[in-house]
């Protein structure tokens, strides 16, 4: 490894996570939901990588696999240089300490019968970050302040907070164990726009102060443009395009990325109904189409796309899984 390219904080290599479809008395495997295939990602410390796509594209499966909440069939996941998939139970606990996740629905990830302070304290206690009860309360208070909640509210229960405040509690809980990377799985998608802006600002502030890296999993491209340094677009389990945010939004290489960008409703009064929407629905990941997975919906489909599967070809800043981006093409 050269000095100019340090080992990234997170490096995912050829990840494959498929779920078996079982049927019959013997629960035999009759097929596979191909949730994520050949996914490779890199994320440097202090940066934000957005993983975007529509439902069923496998973005959440990738996020969960990185946290070892799913068992991938293949691939490597290096976090701080250690392969998480090769760790023992105890090793994984330690290796994963600096890796946290914040989900979409805070009410589902908070225990309704537990004071929020105790929930934030769980990780702190289990990693022995504090020794005494008093230190623990100070630590919880600091975390609540960091997410702009009143430290005095640590003895209250989740239902006493609004949706936005609950998401702050989940972020405080993630922060309490000094993470280096937070996987944000649709963390702002359920929030009203004025509250979403508050949480996005909080995430930006925390990144600046603490040098956090985010893997930001979302279907909302306007949020991506605002927050992410790099974007990976997924479709039916595979990355179809990847690159720096600015390039990807200004010069999308893959027809799917172009369709996705064109489909975002704009709030510019001069722009409406400009692009014809891409046809059809996302096919099932248990029966992905032959050839290029996007070909049944692609406005630029060629004969070849129906038979052959494109690889990820390098494009200017990034890569694209489309024959139109294949090296040596004249156009």
């Amino acid at each position: 490894m050269s000095a100019s390219a340090p080992e990234p904080l997170l490096r995912v290599v050829d990840l494959q996570t498929w779920y078996p479809i079982r049927a019959g008395l013997m629960r035999r495997t009759v097929g596979w939901v191909q949730a994520a295939t050949d996914v490779s990602l890199e994320l440097q410390a202090g940066r934000t990588l957005a993983l975007v796509g529509e439902s069923g594209c496998g973005k959440s499966t990738v996020g969960r696999s990185i946290l070892c909440l799913e068992r991938p069939q293949r691939g490597e996941i290096f976090f701080e240089g250690r392969d998480l998939l090769k760790q023992s139970r105890a090793g994984l606990r330690e290796a994963r300490r600096h890796l946290q996740i914040v989900f979409q629905d805070p009410m589902a990830s908070l225990d309704p019968r537990m004071r929020i302070g105790d929930q934030i304290a769980e990780g702190v206690r289990s990693f022995g970050i504090v020794e005494t009860e008093r230190e623990q309360r100070i630590r919880i208070g600091e975390m609540l302040e960091r997410v702009q909640l009143d430290p005095k509210s640590m003895d209250r229960y989740p239902h006493e907070f609004s949706g936005g405040q609950r998401q702050r509690i989940c972020i405080a809980r993630a922060l309490a164990v000094d993470p280096k990377l937070i996987v944000c799985d649709e963390s702002v998608s359920a929030l009203d726009v004025s509250i979403q802006a508050q949480i996005l600002n909080l995430l930006l502030d925390l990144q600046q102060e603490l040098g956090l890296a985010y893997l930001f999993i979302t279907h909302d491209l306007s949020v991506v443009r605002h927050l992410a340094h790099e974007v990976a677009v997924m479709y039916l389990g595979r990355i179809v395009e990847q690159g720096p945010t600015e390039r990807l939004f200004e010069h999308p290489a893959h027809p799917y990325t172009r369709s996705l960008l064109a489909a975002i409703p704009s709030i510019d009064p001069a722009r409406r109904g400009s692009a014809p929407p891409v046809r059809g629905d996302v096919p099932s990941p248990s029966h992905p189409p032959e050839g290029c997975h996007f070909h049944p919906r692609c406005p630029e489909v060629m004969d070849r796309c129906r038979r052959e599967r494109p690889e990820l070809y390098p494009v200017e800043q990034g890569c694209s899984r489309c024959f139109l981006s294949e090296p040596g093409r004249s156009d």
């Binding site: 605002h226 996705l260 409703p265 009064p269 409406r272 629905d281």
Partner: protein, 329 residues
């Protein structure tokens, strides 16, 4: 030309330990034939309860306590149960965010639409079936003949929403209430459904009352926009005017807090705080607790409706003050 629908001083209350809470309070707007009016607001703004109030579908113990809802000049609120049922579905149809809550999971979708048609009109099964097939073609369902005998779970979210729209249109209503019709859909499918609604409106001249929290969808579909906050209207304006020159500080804050406009990586201009719960609404302007332009009268005195321009209405002391200064010049 008179409006198709006129809502006048609508008030809907829910009982609480602190007395009746008006979660919809003094809401007035009109909807012309073939027009799309968007009712926008965040959760708790009362936009959905407003829509349900129009058809007298407010869940108990809520109750419409004041106002009038006139369809072609006839008030719907005093109608008998039998009479309002003939309006629902037939003259005003409704589509919801989650089609699965409206489709019966154990019946074929074709039969459900046929049943809806035969509920309102005396036609034979074969005629209703033929009409359903035509509707399926019109709303862009591929292989319509095959889909008629499909069960809801065999259809994707986008197709289910198309079935819902077909069912809503089956009685040729003059007005469609669409409550977050695309919120549960993926963005590429959402674009298809928005396109479909636009096409149907062009061809059928149906009026649409669009309930949504998404200002992007408002811009895509609406002719006029009514912004709600904490149970009250704060601003009503034509689409272009609202997006290019919003007057109410809440509308301004909402538009600014959408990530699309800010420079990437910079902090977004946020509206501080949260929408207060109904029992803590200020006695004056309900936005007063979060408003950056708040001054003396805002917390105590409710702002009156003012018309700063043709077709524009706004409820704000600050706008009123600025207009007074301009007028004095």
């Amino acid at each position: 030309m008179s409006a198709l629908l006129e809502v006048d001083g609508l008030r809907t209350c829910f009982p609480s330990s602190a007395g009746a809470l008006p979660v919809v309070d003094d809401v007035s707007f009109s909807l012309g034939r073939g027009e799309t009016l968007a009712l926008v607001g965040e959760s708790g703004s009362g936009k959905s309860i407003t829509a349900l109030s129009l058809l007298r579908l407010v869940p108990k113990p809520g109750r419409v306590t004041a106002g009038a809802v006139r369809l072609d000049g006839r008030d719907l609120l005093p109608l008998s149960v039998g009479e309002i049922r003939r309006v629902r579905g037939r003259r005003i149809a409704m589509i919801f965010q989650e089609p699965m809550t409206c489709l019966n999971p154990v019946l074929r979708v074709g039969d459900q639409v046929i049943e809806a048609i035969r509920l309102h009109e005396r036609v034979s099964v074969s005629e209703a079936r033929e009409r359903t097939r035509t509707l399926f073609v019109e709303v862009g369902i591929p292989d319509p003949e095959e889909r008629l005998s499909a069960y809801p779970h065999q259809l994707s979210g986008g197709l289910k929403q198309r079935v819902m729209i077909a069912m809503a249109l089956s009685t040729r209503p003059e007005m469609l209430i669409a409550d977050e019709p695309t919120t549960a859909l993926d963005v590429t499918v959402q674009a298809q459904i928005l396109e479909l609604l636009r096409k149907l409106q062009r061809e059928r001249d149906t009026a649409i009352l669009l309930i949504t929290h998404d200002l992007g969808i408002v811009n895509e579909l609406a002719d006029r926009v009514a912004v709600m906050y904490a149970g009250r209207l704060v601003e009503v304006a034509p689409r272009e005017a609202l997006f290019s020159d919003p007057l109410h500080p809440y509308t301004q804050g909402l538009l600014r807090s959408i990530p699309g406009l800010a420079r990437p990586g910079e902090r977004l201009p946020e509206i501080p705080g949260v929408v207060p719960p109904p029992d803590q609404w200020p006695t004056g302007c309900r936005f007063a607790t979060r408003c950056p332009k708040r001054f003396d009268p805002c917390a105590d005195i409710q702002p009156e409706e003012i018309e700063p321009a043709r077709e524009r209405r706004v409820w704000c002391h600050e706008v009123e003050r600025m207009l007074a200064i301009e007028g004095a010049r």
